[in-house]
């Protein structure tokens, strides 16, 4: 919740800062700036690159600030670390009261150095001073009665902490901690956790980075990082190519022959809306959890998309083009090769882009279920050991690769079918 509020504050603040900053620079008199109606005119809306830049920075800044990262100097308050002291007053079975001090060392187990147990003077009276240690983000039961004279007797109870009255099932707040009395009268101390995220929920950016460096050099679970990612990619490419090799000719056949269309229409229309992930159990039953099963799953994921896009490419050909080619003396085969195939390429490319995206999503999901290697296997395995840094690293890499695939497809599309959309 705090994070969301911070994010909105940064969003609004950045908007005004950029607005003020750009108001000093000379505005360009391009055509859009001269438009008086921009609200609702989609062509007048272009992404503000300053906003994009700040947006990315903001995500990292919030991430760093809420994880106590060393990358930036300002953080939200972290968990309390150090010595926590409070005093309590106990009443023994005969109605006498006495006070004693409790000193608790709160330490960060991640930093590696575990503090020595403090040596303290027990003090006078029947209540003796106590000491204990608590790890940050945890709470500890402080059994003050254990070393107090008569602490085990019926009637002994702690009646106040730091001058605040306390009874079972109630809580009080002291500096840097919350103290709760259990039903049996034991004090449960929870040191202040601060606003930062525990590393097990969200590690700092540099932890993720150092994990990337470590996994990049040492590998993870018998395979290097490149092997994990490479295997996922190979599965996608092989599955996609298999789908395209079968799907495109099938789509052409469906676009050109009534028999093929009639025969395959029910199959294609039925299989198309079935999410590939729903096929995973069946594929595992039939083909096992090896490479074969995964590639068949990806083949099925891309097959229908490629078939439908090839069919749409053939159906979308302007009949005037076909007539023109016939009256220029082209044979059926020449019309196929010189008119139908090139005419369908834009549709096929759109299908290929969608298909690659679906395959990439499917392969990660399939690896989550069962795999020896692969990006999905890496993160599901890491999550079992609570290696959140590795999980986040994996997610980022999966995102980057998915994005790169899409960009590559778009570049090759511009290069190979420049007439698309014209």
């Amino acid at each position: 919740m705090a994070i969301l509020i911070f994010y909105i504050i940064i969003f609004v603040a950045a908007f005004y800062v950029v607005k003020v900053a750009t108001s000093f620079t000379k505005s360009q008199d391009d055509f859009t700036s001269l438009k008086t109606v921009t609200f609702g005119d989609e062509s007048a809306v272009s992404p503000n690159r300053a906003a994009s830049f700040i947006s990315v920075i903001a995500v990292f800044a919030i991430w760093a600030a809420f994880t106590g990262s060393k990358l930036i100097p300002i953080h939200v308050p972290g968990p309390f670390i150090g010595e926590l002291t409070f005093s309590y007053i106990a009443m023994n079975s005969s109605g006498e009261t006495d006070d004693a001090d409790v000193t608790i060392t709160v330490y960060d187990v991640q930093s590696g150095d575990i503090p020595e147990k403090l040596d303290i003077d027990p003090g006078s009276g029947f209540a003796h001073n106590d000491t204990d240690q608590i790890i940050t983000y945890r709470s500890g039961l402080i059994k003050v009665q254990n070393n107090d004279d008569g602490g085990k007797e019926k009637g002994y109870k702690v009646i106040s902490v730091n001058g605040q009255e306390i009874s079972p099932d109630t809580e009080i707040f002291i500096d840097n901690a919350r103290i709760f009395m259990t039903r049996k009268g034991t004090l449960s101390v929870t040191p202040e956790k601060g606003w930062q995220m525990q590393p097990v929920w969200l590690p700092a950016p540099e932890t993720v980075w150092s994990r990337l460096v470590k996994v990049g050099s040492e590998g993870y679970k018998n395979f290097t990082l490149l092997e994990h990612l490479g295997w996922s990619l190979i599965r996608v490419v092989v599955g996609f190519l298999a789908g395209a090799i079968i799907g495109i000719p099938l789509g052409y056949a469906m676009g050109l022959s009534g028999w093929f269309r009639g025969w395959f229409d029910p199959i294609v229309e039925f299989m198309r809306p079935v999410p590939p992930l729903a096929l995973i159990p069946l594929v595992i039953i039939w083909f096992g959890i090896g490479e074969q099963g995964k590639i068949i799953l990806l083949f099925l994921a891309s097959l229908w998309i490629m078939t439908i896009s090839a069919r749409a490419g053939v159906s979308g050909v302007n009949i005037a083009k076909i007539h023109a080619a016939y009256s220029l003396g082209a044979s059926k085969w020449q019309i196929m090769r010189l008119v139908i195939v090139p005419n369908s390429l834009p549709e096929i490319f759109t299908g290929a882009r969608v298909s690659m995206g679906v395959c990439w999503g499917t392969v990660v999901a399939a690896e989550l279920v069962a795999a020896q290697k692969g990006a999905g296997m890496m993160i599901i395995n890491a999550s079992k050991f609570q290696m959140t840094d590795l999980v986040i690293m994996g997610i980022v890499l999966i995102g980057v690769i998915g994005y790169a695939i899409d960009i590559l497809m778009r570049i090759s599309e511009n290069y190979l079918v420049p007439w698309k959309g014209k």
């Binding site: 302007n318 005037a320 083009k321 007539h323 023109a324 080619a325 016939y326 009256s327 220029l328 003396g329 082209a330 044979s331 020449q334 010189l338 008119v339 090139p342 005419n343 390429l345 079918v417 420049p418 007439w419 014209k422």
Partner: protein
Amino acid sequence: MKGLSINNISMRFDLKNGSSVQALKDVSLDIDEGQIITVLGPSGCGKTTLLNIVAGFLAPTEGNVVLNEQVVQGPGAERGMVFQQGALFEWMNVQSNVAFGPRMKGMSKSEQGEKVKHLLEIVGLADFEDKAVYELSGGMQQRVALARCLANDPDVILMDEPLGALDALTREKMQGLVLKLWKETGKTIILITHSVEEAVLLGERLLVLAPRPGRIHKEYTLPFAEMGVNMDLREVKKADGYTKTRDEILSIIWEMEEEIMGRAEEN
């Protein structure tokens, strides 16, 4: 006998609801080699059907089309076609589009190149060989379409509203080009149009088709195409008889359109 004859063509086809449509009824026409014929008529009168039958894309239910003593059985290279738009191959540049017909005939690359160069000069697109067709304006694209059709050296050129999608100024220029190509190449041309003015200006013979069933309503023999070869078309429009002919045909078409509207209201 050289030339094109359309003999007693009728076209009727069944609709899914059991009724049938008589698109053309008993249309006959003899066209000498080198004539330019324009075909006019209200929408739905079967102009395009007639052209598709001559091109060989449709088989008539009765009658036949004979070109140079050969009965038309299907599409063929001797009957070239120019469409309204969208018939160019976007994945080929101007050169490859124009060279398509010669390439289908197996002409050598160098011959293709020469032919393309020559034709592009005629249609006024010299130096545009390497341009992509989607980079050209609508008028330029139609010039390419004309050149592509001519490259195949057809006996008859069938034009299905080739200038329909162009703006008025470009259209006027292209009308001049059509006349110029007609005279220079001596091809037989059948041109379908919606524009009465265009039909009067470009047609040596002008056919007015009547709808339901499509049939020849009236035929004119006009001098304006011949005049237009050597004269600015705007001058031709001032010639004796032009306005009178145009208005006469306009009123015929108007009457037909009103009759169609009337029948539609009755239903």
